[in-house]
């Protein structure tokens, strides 16, 4: 079967609109297709990964823990743009920890989130076969 590079581009904040949640739903289903999957978090998309989300007061499910399960689906490349973080006053410490177990490295625990520059993000985008935008 053809293996393509799928890139999910997340540019919207969570909860105000459903895009972040429904993007995650595509990622989870798409994982069954054994494609090469990467997630990009750009602009307000970086807010999706912040720690400490508590939706008790808005009547909506907090889906941020789902990001931590992505490793179990072999989705292990979460690219976060450094400039988008900085513009929003965020540092990598403001993001939740997302880990995966690397089966090629004796199941060592490794971080899925990689902070990259805007220029590197442009390279990631240019390397995709299929870009799904949310």
């Amino acid at each position: 079967m053809t293996v393509k590079n799928f890139l999910y581009v997340n540019r919207k904040a969570p909860y105000g609109t459903i895009y972040a949640l429904e993007s995650l739903e595509v990622v989870l289903i798409g994982a069954a297709f054994d494609q090469d999957v990467s997630l990009a978090f750009v602009d307000d998309g970086v807010f999706q990964l912040t720690k400490g989300q508590n939706t008790d007061g808005i009547g909506v499910k907090n889906f941020s823990p789902t990001f931590r399960a992505l490793g179990d689906y072999d989705v292990t490349k979460l690219f976060v743009e450094a400039e988008s973080l900085a513009e929003r006053g965020l540092t990598p410490d403001d993001l939740q920890e997302v880990m995966y177990e690397d089966e090629d490295d004796d199941w060592a625990e490794k971080p899925s989130i990689k902070i990259i520059s805007r220029a590197e993000m442009a390279d990631v985008m240019a390397g995709a076969d299929v870009v799904l935008s949310f």
């Binding site: 053809t2 799928f6 459903i18 429904e22 595509v26 289903i29 798409g30």
Partner: protein, 130 residues
């Protein structure tokens, strides 16, 4: 060339469903194939056969249904997004114990896997949304 198209915004409020329709028509006229259009997020609302826009306005659902029939375009409505928003075909309505269904001719409800499959099987993917 094979084009896959995603419509991710609802009709009438946003231009996305109109733009996507005109794009698909132009692609077919240019000799390309558009095997599937996938409706996601509020885009699923395009598929209701119960919308009744004023007669001097275009009917977005009717346009899509006609295009699908003429060119054998597979119009797929995401089941998860559709169920949230009250779009049900006959089977789903029965299964969920609802007293009505509203999916128009030419549209079918299916899973998100159809979106991924479209990405794998087409040469280009174009998304129209908000």
């Amino acid at each position: 060339m094979k084009f896959g198209v995603v419509v991710s915004e609802g009709p009438y409020t946003h231009q996305a469903a109109d733009s996507a329709y005109l794009f698909v028509k132009a692609a077919l006229e240019a000799g390309h194939e558009v095997p599937r259009v996938f409706f996601y997020h509020d885009g699923v609302n395009v598929s209701t056969r119960l919308s009744v826009p004023p007669q001097d306005e275009r009917n977005i659902q009717v346009n899509w249904t006609a295009l699908a029939k003429e060119h054998e375009v597979d119009l797929v409505v995401c089941i998860a997004a559709a169920q949230r928003r009250g779009l049900l075909d006959e089977n789903e309505a029965t299964r969920q114990g609802k007293d009505a269904n509203n999916i128009a001719d030419g549209f079918r409800i299916s899973g998100l896997g159809q979106l991924i499959e479209m990405g794998i099987q087409t040469d280009r993917l174009v998304t129209f949304g908000d």
